[in-house]
């Protein structure tokens, strides 16, 4: 066995955002030995950037809410291709998961009678998002972190995993390297939970952190797990577009929840022009009613700005393409206009949206209490991911679990805002619980010296290629070219020929990635880290592209210019990707599990 430090855990959790932390807490409650691997420092994971809130049918603001309404909203938002069981569990369990956070010290904003306040968000029928201003993610990650550090979890900070270790079919650990020192580490575990988040860094314009490179998706895929729904990439309608330095930075949907409106360069509220049929009944048909909704009028319907993200993003693209965009290629998002409606509007905006105020003031020289913001779509979230069992979160690889953004199913073709944080809590907990159970019922597997040696050798290859001599390319240009290409060819609006071009481009980028070299030594070397991240980025980009080519219809976040309508057959079909015996990516279609009658009834009743 190579002479690397070995850590023994019952359950190894890879990823330290909301899902990873929640899984770690649950697994340690089951009295097993838990290791938590963070690619960054603890508490810095991408969850920290979540703004709007956690969706849970607490019914604190509107007592008509309940799990059935939340379930129906989630299914409708996902265009009915969600895993129904996950959507059901999520809607039922989210309230308990939120209350638990309060018991661990979270301090949400309050209702006048002292309960957790809930706000409006796109696609949610009633005010449903428990929140803390617009920094809910920070509150959630800090609460989980501060609770978790007292539970005896071994935290491995700044460690990146390069490979999952297998014993036959089963996953029995992982090989990683410590970013600070550049040394390899072996993690020997009975069960592994992937909670690595998203893939945003495959795209040029994204709201995601540097570390959202699809590591969990790629690790699972290479270990034999299936990827599902990879064609569904969510472009959040409102990212900053100017200045270039902050292009893509998220502007929370909470702005629209608090009454913000979208207008084009002619000052027209264009969202009212195109309300989809399945949302007509619950969307206001005039601006006045929409305003009343945001101010808590229970008899008003929501404004068109609060339609689902996929739809709003496409309407924005349409406005820009047809020449009605703003100077820097976006549309206007205006919250300052509410000063016409309420007293002390500036103070109200600063209290409800403090980080938006701060972000625009400091980075964009825009005072959002006085002027509109310039916004456009930004790559935000992937609905697709590791295919897991809805109840246990285990993949088809024994001992390998996945939760949060890197797992698929709950969101279908489009995720509703706020459902991500609740997903992390509900399924993070389930993954932790079932991984612990699996670990207790299993014997320790054997880790293979050969696999570790090969993993380490291939990770170190970039050092053998001397970039300074000019014979080899550094990793950054390959990463940029990938991001540019994915943005251009596999973005919000997709077409067969463009995506086929992308596939050819990916083959070339793979070639380049296999030949990148790095300078310097192994100690905290971002060039080396980027070279290794390329493998994940390319794997997930290929998965997204292949699935998007195969789905010849438009549904949710997946929009095909050449197939602009929904197709009934595709509506009952899942696309599944798996690594073939020859190492090539294989795609197959599978029928979507049918909705049971009791849930069909729930959806009918909520229509």
């Amino acid at each position: 066995m190579p002479d690397y430090p070995t850590h023994e855990h019952d359950v190894l959790i890879i990823g330290s955002g909301g899902a990873g932390l929640r899984a770690a807490i649950e697994a340690s409650a089951a009295a097993v030995k838990v290791g938590l691997v963070c690619k960054c420092l603890l508490g810095k994971a991408h969850t920290v950037m979540a703004e709007g809130g956690i969706a849970a049918a607490l019914a604190n603001v509107d007592e008509r809410d309940g799990w059935q309404v939340h379930f129906a909203d989630t299914m409708r938002g996902g265009q009915y291709v969600n895993n129904w069981r996950m959507a059901e569990l999520h809607a039922k369990e989210a309230p308990a998961r939120v209350r638990e956070l309060e018991a661990w010290g979270a301090l949400f904003d309050r209702t006048p009678d002292g309960r957790i306040l809930q706000r409006n968000f796109g696609g949610h029928k009633y005010p449903r998002l428990a929140h803390v201003g617009d920094r809910t993610g920070l509150e959630m990650i800090r609460t989980l972190q501060d609770h978790g550090v007292h539970l005896g979890i071994d935290v491995h900070m700044e460690v990146a995993i390069v490979e999952l270790l297998k014993d036959g079919d089963r996953v029995v650990g992982a090989l990683g390297y410590d970013r600070e020192r550049g040394q390899f580490k072996i993690f020997h575990a009975k069960a592994v939970v992937l909670a690595t988040g998203g893939i945003g860094k495959s795209y040029k314009i994204t709201s995601n952190s540097w570390d959202c490179t699809g590591d969990g998706h790629a690790l699972a895929y290479h270990a034999g797990a299936e990827l599902l729904d990879m064609e569904y990439v969510q472009f959040h309608p409102t990212g900053m577009v100017w200045p270039p330095s902050v292009c893509g930075m998220l502007v929370t949907e909470g702005v629209r929840g608090e009454g913000g409106i979208l207008t084009n360069k002619d000052g027209k509220r264009f969202m009212f022009d195109s309300i989809p049929d399945n949302y007509k009944a619950q969307t206001a048909d005039n601006e006045e009613e929409g305003w009343r909704y945001t101010q808590g009028d229970r008899n008003a319907r929501r404004p068109a700005e609060l339609l689902t993200r996929d739809h709003v993003a496409r309407c924005i693209v349409r406005e820009i393409k047809e020449g009605r965009g703003t100077p820097h290629g976006g549309v206007w998002l205006d919250i300052s206009w509410i000063k016409k409606r309420i007293p002390n509007a500036a103070e109200h905006i600063k209290r409800k949206l403090p980080s938006m105020y701060h972000q625009f003031k400091q980075l964009g020289d825009v005072d959002i209490t006085r002027e509109p913001m310039e916004v456009g779509p930004t790559t935000h979230y992937i609905m697709g991911g590791v295919r897991v069992n809805a109840d246990t979160q285990m993949s088809c690889v024994p001992g390998l679990f996945a939760a949060g953004e890197c797992a698929a199913g709950i969101n279908g073709a489009n995720r509703l805002g706020g459902n991500s944080l609740s997903d992390l809590l509900v399924f993070g907990k389930r993954a932790g619980e079932h991984a612990a159970k699996f670990a207790k019922e299993s014997k320790a597997g054997q880790i293979s010296a050969a696999q570790i040696e090969e993993g380490a050798r291939s990770a170190l290859e970039p050092f053998d290629r001397n970039v300074s001599a000019g014979q080899f390319e550094g990793p950054y240009q390959v990463q940029y070219d990938l991001q540019e290409m994915m943005q251009r060819e596999v973005g919000i609006v997709r077409r067969q020929d463009e995506m086929e071009r992308a596939l050819e481009g990916l083959a070339k980028l793979w070639e380049r990635a296999r030949r990148v070299g790095v300078t310097g030594h192994r100690q905290f070397n971002p060039g080396w880290h980027t070279a290794l991240d390329l493998r994940s980025l390319l794997t997930v980009s290929e998965a997204v592209t292949r699935a998007a080519i195969e789905r010849k219809e438009s549904r949710g976040a997946h929009f095909r210019e050449d197939f602009p309508d929904k197709d009934a057959t595709f509506g009952k079909t899942s696309l599944i990707l798996r690594k073939g015996p020859d190492g090539a990516m294989q795609l197959r279609r599978e029928p979507l599990p049918a909705l049971p009658d009791h849930l069909k009834k729930v959806i009918e009743e909520m229509k």
Binding site: K44, E102, S209
Partner: protein, 250 residues
């Protein structure tokens, strides 16, 4: 588009020096953009931490022209570009490499602080009732993104290296958030006085000045904690009562 010159600290625990770099400056650019540009084009192995590049995670702390800053929130337009911009690692923590320091001490400190201990729930469903007004002041402290810039600037840590005796402004804010939490029932005053070393803070307010979240660290967190400690341990009336009690017991 103009150019700017930089003097960036390159080196590790064994030593190092400033190295000169040049970067193109575009509208709205921040210091972290310049670091990324240099990393991508001139120094692939230049070490700096960053995550969100939106001022929300607190990873990219460094000293820009001698001031502790988040490099992702420091606009190039705020800096004089007629002379080189210096970028150095934080000084209160051991250097790992270039702009990356070993901040693990902070995580060890937090573990030693007594955790949140809520009172029994107010409602049968396990939930509590709290007024927004009571939550407001703790929410200010919970805005902290743990960038550790306040720790970096604190002279008790930076100059006097009292890491074993003093938890620093970040964790005094953390204790304040717990102590003033409407539901918390724990008493951390003895720890504040002894293990946390609150007496070492002589309220120079440097921490407040550098906080990127604008938390009024000294006035709202540290001074009220100092008052609680004084009330608990140095109140003359209570001292008299206590000594009287002791005398009676004898």
């Amino acid at each position: 588009m103009s150019t700017a010159t930089f003097k960036i600290w390159r080196g590790d625990a064994t030593g190092g020096n400033f190295v000169d770099y040049t970067a193109q400056v575009s509208e709205g650019m921040v210091v972290l953009d310049a670091l990324h540009q240099i990393q991508a084009t001139q120094a692939n192995d230049l070490a700096c931490r960053w995550n969100c590049k939106a001022g929300k995670c607190g990873s990219c702390s460094a000293e820009v022209n001698g001031m502790p800053k988040l490099t992702c929130m420091t606009r190039m337009s705020q800096l004089p570009l007629d002379k080189p911009v210096t970028i150095e690692p934080m000084k209160a923590f051991p250097l790992v490499k270039d702009l990356v320091t070993d901040v693990s001490w902070n995580f060890a400190v937090k573990k030693k602080i007594k955790p949140f201990k809520p009172r029994a729930p107010d409602a049968p469903d396990g939930s509590w009732r709290m007024a927004q007004a009571d939550v407001d002041r703790v929410q200010e402290f919970r805005k902290c993104i743990e960038c550790f810039l306040c720790q970096d600037v604190c002279h008790v840590l930076r100059e006097h290296h009292k890491h074993d005796e003093f938890i620093g402004p970040r964790f005094l804010v953390y204790v304040a958030a717990l102590e003033m939490h409407p539901l918390d029932t724990e008493d951390r005053r003895a720890d504040l006085k002894q293990a946390h070393g609150i007496g070492l803070c002589n309220i120079t307010k440097c921490c407040t000045k550098v906080c990127p979240e604008n938390i009024t660290i000294t006035d709202n967190a540290i001074i009220p904690l100092k008052e609680r400690v004084v009330d608990g341990f140095y109140d003359p009336l209570r001292w008299l009562l206590n000594s009287a009690k002791k005398t009676l017991k004898r």
